[in-house]
């Protein structure tokens, strides 16, 4: 996960958008695990998020912020596949996910395509009654496929705090015009 995804997330941040309904992960994409050199799969449903939230410290400010953030979420789902060789997955397979995101409540807010690096990143948000209730990030690279699904309501201003936690890529808002030096850590880096 390199610059395009970060750009997408920054754009999403400034667009004042954010979050998602449960998207069904195509079974055929799970078969990619057999070809992948590395697979990361994070699944935290509402019950697990609730339990983690209940056990957080009442004294720690950052824990309180995290608790406030996750209590409005129904789930956090991250899947990432890394391959040793190019083109190990069929882009058409990803189409099954994209098809679910074509319903009226979903809007594609960011689409970044880098022909140089052959990278493709999309960010979708789900809007229900004026509230953002879901977000999906889909990042395709020749040797990597990443899917992030945040299901539930979230305040866009809290998006940055969620980045870097629970296997979600870190969001760089770029507020202070920092050089775009370090790429955001991929989910695998968070888990290792």
């Amino acid at each position: 996960m390199k610059a395009p995804l970060r750009v997408a997330l920054i754009a999403l941040f400034f667009a004042g958008c954010a979050m998602a309904q449960q998207i069904q992960w195509p079974v055929k994409l799970d078969k990619l695990a057999a070809k992948a050199s590395e697979v990361v799969d994070v699944q935290l449903d509402k019950k697990m998020l609730g339990m983690a939230g209940n056990f957080m410290s009442q004294d720690d400010k950052s824990d309180q912020e995290a608790h406030n953030l996750i209590k409005s979420l129904n789930g956090i789902y991250v899947k990432s596949f890394e391959f040793d060789k190019d083109n190990q997955y069929d882009p058409a397979d990803v189409e099954e996910i994209r098809a679910q995101l074509r319903s009226p409540e979903w809007t594609r807010v960011v689409g970044v395509e880098s022909k140089k690096d052959n990278e493709h990143v999309e960010v979708y948000i789900r809007n229900v009654s004026g509230k953002i209730s879901g977000m999906v990030v889909l990042a395709q690279e020749p040797r990597e496929l990443t899917f992030v699904n945040l299901d539930g309501n979230i305040d866009p201003s809290q998006l940055q705090k969620l980045g870097g936690n629970f296997g979600i890529p870190k969001v760089d808002t770029g507020h202070k015009a920092k050089p775009a030096a370090k790429p955001a850590p991929a989910p695998k880096a968070v888990q290792k």
Binding site: A36, E38, V39, V42, A52, F55, F166, K192
Partner: protein, 168 residues
Amino acid sequence: MKRAAFALGLLLVVVVALPARAADKEFDSLVNALRHHYSLPRPEYPLRGVFMGPMMALARHSGGARKTEVEVATFENIQPGRFEPTDFENTVNRSLPANWRPFVRVFSRKDHEITLVYMDTASTSQRMRLFVVTAEDNELTLVRVRVPDDQTMAWVDNPTHMAKQQTK
């Protein structure tokens, strides 16, 4: 008199340690399942033993919400790549009660690493319980932990790293 005091002390240690051993059935069950399924050698229990066992049991009884309660088992000298990811995961899933739900799965073929992290969703205690099973290089490590409340976020965020800290 000295003998009586010694006997009383010994009895106290046994009484304190026994409930802990009973609670470890769940842990031992997974250790034994993996051991038998893969014909592994006898595991090491770094936190058990004549001295560490009673000390850990006493720590459990005296521990507040900020103390880590941890159980560790390690299998060493395992041939790298011994565990096929799907079979390994199925074996672990079969051996753990249903209240343990997986929330992180990491499979790295290039590094021969598998990490599975489970959360106890039926925990009635005041603290979160996690099970971290890691196979890497020539070692298989099982860590079950009752997480201190001020470390909950760190464990949910990076359970593998936190589990490794416990085995050092």
